[in-house]
């Protein structure tokens, strides 16, 4: 079973790596224009969103911390990258480091304050922090740096990574980013630390009784997931060539929730499938129904919360288990 999963993952990665070439061969169009270029872009966005969703799942699905402020990290990554690239003209490697540092600091601050309370209090506090950042991103006081409500436009992305000129390069970089994050989170969740995360989710009191300092572990989960989300936000800003207040809005947090819940919380593949599902379906619905498609999404989300609490992956697993039980 385990080996099969490994093979499946590797097969999928190779398929995704070959995808641009296959599509170019199938359509007969050159690889850097037309349909192949468009679908490279679509999938690059899916990869970025997948990392964002997985980072949320590390917090919610694995550690059981329901934060409603995840957009804060996503937006912070985008804005940090944008401001440093545009106003300070830092090289990209330094920007990546800076994004990580900013995310660690934010994660420590927000974790240290919000993790003092539990359950619904935590959701309120994290939502309030995210909303504060959203308000600040729109504040006219910082227009010079953030562009206020217009957002930070025209971020100068290094020429070799330009999503418009070097689309294939961007595709591979975001694929590598996604694969790297996947393996990183897998390592974390399968490590002893990850086991403590799961123990906290299942029963925090018991985890503390065994002797773990659960506060530190929760803080670690928050920082780790914050860093990943910030990196995803940075990639998103590079892709869009801008960072805007919308990245910090509650809808961005809801997006993370949606992807995680639809795919299946507490699994690694779930949020990634959810990200692909939502982005591609969103594109399809957008072309079919125009601007009303978020309504359909919301209704689908409510339906899933009510009837499919463990998402696609959860439903699939219980289906398999039921089939096996029937056969036995």
């Amino acid at each position: 079973m385990k080996l099969q999963n490994h093979r499946l993952t590797f097969g999928l990665i190779i398929a995704l790596a070959l995808f641009p070439f296959a599509l170019s061969w199938l359509t007969g169009e050159p690889i850097d224009s037309g349909t192949p270029k468009f679908w490279q872009g679509m999938l690059a966005q899916v990869f970025i969103l997948a990392v964002y969703a997985v980072s949320y799942d590390l917090l919610m699905g694995y550690t059981g911390i329901l934060s409603f402020g995840h957009a804060l990290f996503f937006g912070a990554g985008g804005y940090t990258a944008g401001i440093l690239l545009k106003h300070a003209a830092w090289p990209l490697w330094a920007v990546v480091l800076a994004v990580i540092v900013v995310a660690v600091i934010l994660g420590l601050f927000i974790g240290a304050t919000s993790l003092r309370v539990q359950g619904v209090y935590l959701t309120m506090v994290t939502l309030a922090f995210a909303q504060m950042m959203f308000v600040l991103s729109e504040a006219t006081d910082f227009r010079e740096w953030t562009g206020a409500e217009d957002g930070l436009q025209g971020i100068p992305v290094p020429a070799w990574l330009s999503p418009t000129q070097q689309r294939l390069m961007f595709y591979f970089v975001s694929l590598a980013f996604c694969v790297f994050s996947y393996y990183l989170v897998r390592r974390v969740t399968q490590s002893p630390t990850g086991r403590v995360f799961i123990a906290i989710r299942e029963n925090e009191l018991r985890a503390r009784a065994i002797g773990y300092n659960t506060f530190l572990y929760k803080l670690l989960a928050m920082v780790a997931s914050g860093v990943l989300a910030a990196l995803a936000g940075m990639m998103n800003a590079l892709w869009n060539l801008n960072a805007n207040p919308n990245m910090l809005a509650t809808s961005t947090t809801i997006n993370a929730l949606l992807m995680t819940i639809i795919g299946g919380a507490g699994t690694l593949s779930g949020p990634m499938i959810g990200a692909a599902f939502i982005h591609l379906l969103g594109y399809g619905l957008n072309t079919a129904f125009g601007p009303r498609w978020p309504l359909l999404f919301g209704l689908a989300y409510v339906g899933i919360v009510l009837f499919l609490p463990y998402g696609f992956v959860g439903a699939w697993r219980s289906l398999i288990a039921r089939m096996k039980a029937k056969r036995a």
Binding site: F68, S114, Y121, A128, L136, A139, I254, F297, G298, L306
Partner: protein
């Protein structure tokens, strides 16, 4: 004697702390500004506090009784405002004079909030009492859906709701020199210590006080109130005593969301009707509830008042330019800074007292 005093202090610590904070803020305000400016800032704070109270009281009661954190509360506030406005501006409503129309609009907002809330509790939240986290996820999703529906019906542009004629006269002898004169001339503002203050805002304060008094009477003096307070303590026990707690749940949910819906209409002539208001007031409601402590009406009220005062003082400081001792020149800031700083107040309260001022330690 000292023993009694100490016991009283221990019991009333939250009240004393709240009053102390308010007194300090008021003193600082009077030290910094002229008396007439300080008074109008205080009244603005009370106005905001009254609106926050209409949101936070429902949030707090619903959470206290059934452990549901209603993320759709802001949505119902907004839905009340939109529906109240729709009635107020509709052709049918135009036949009536604006005061009656406004009174009915408040009722429309309250009724639609209560009805939507009751349906929501009955149809969607009830199946999820066994899965608490999913209630939060659901109400957040409902906010998303509801906002999209409002956007589909009324579009993305905001609307401005006119102040009813009772508070909107503009004659040469306006602003009214006193509250007594206002009753005959209905000016849009009243002179308070020689500085005009919008009369509609005084009405908002009055409405908030009446709503608070009504809630207190309901909770403390009626049979239903006894059941609700007992339910906050232990809902299962009340059920065991033969009360249909589920029905009380639906009723309290409707009461809370109805207050929010009314609040939306009350706030509309001040802030307008727009798609951002739900989110904004939900957040302020949360902050008020976190400051005051969940599950207590007095806590929700204290939180709302403190928050309203903080916002009003913050806005005044920001607009007048902020000058700290080491600065050569006052720096001028936008209102967003004052809006954002309320979150920091909440963070401060949480650090000092995680269960809020009036909350019980769990």
């Amino acid at each position: 004697m000292t023993q009694i005093f100490r016991m009283w202090m221990a019991k009333q610590r939250a009240t004393v702390v709240t009053l102390l904070i308010v007194a300090l803020a008021v003193m600082a305000l009077f030290a910094r500004f002229e008396a007439k400016v300080a008074v109008s800032v205080l009244l603005s704070g009370l106005t905001l506090g009254a609106i926050y109270f209409l949101v936070s009281s429902g949030l707090s009661l619903i959470f206290g009784l059934m452990d549901v954190l209603n993320f759709a509360h802001g949505l119902l506030f907004m839905a009340g405002a939109y529906l109240g406005y729709a009635f107020y501006a509709s052709g049918f409503g135009q036949a009536l004079d604006s005061n009656l129309r406004f009174a009915i609009a408040i009722l429309v907002g309250g009724a639609s909030g209560a009805l939507l809330g009751a349906i929501m509790e009955w149809a969607l939240i009830r199946p999820l009492y066994k899965r608490p986290i999913y209630q939060v996820l659901l109400t957040l999703g409902l906010t998303f859906v509801g906002t999209e529906i409002i956007k589909a019906i009324w579009g993305t542009i905001g609307y401005f709701m006119n102040i009813p004629a009772f508070f909107n006269a503009n004659t040469p002898n306006c602003p009214s020199p006193s509250l007594f004169d206002f009753l005959s001339d209905h000016c849009s503002s009243i002179l308070i210590l020689g500085r005009p203050f919008p009369s509609y805002r005084l009405f908002v304060i009055l409405f908030g006080v009446l709503a608070f008094a009504g809630m207190m009477i309901l909770l403390q003096k009626t049979r239903i109130g006894i059941i609700i307070r007992a339910g906050v303590q232990d809902a299962e026990m009340v059920q065991a005593l033969g009360v249909n707690v589920r029905r009380v749940f639906t009723g309290v949910f409707a009461l809370g969301t109805g207050l929010a819906g009314m609040g939306g209409v009350i706030a509309a002539p001040i802030i307008g009707v727009n798609l951002a208001m739900g989110q904004e007031f939900l957040l302020q409601g949360f902050i008020a509830v976190v400051i005051g402590g969940m599950g207590s009406l007095v806590g929700a009220t204290a939180g709302a008042l403190l928050l309203g005062l903080a916002r009003a003082i913050g806005d005044q400081l920001v607009l007048g330019g902020l000058q700290l001792p080491w600065m050569e020149q006052a720096i001028s800031l936008s209102l967003s800074i004052a809006r954002a700083s309320t979150v920091l107040i909440m963070a401060l309260v949480l650090l000092l007292r995680p269960s809020g001022l009036f909350g019980k330690k769990d």
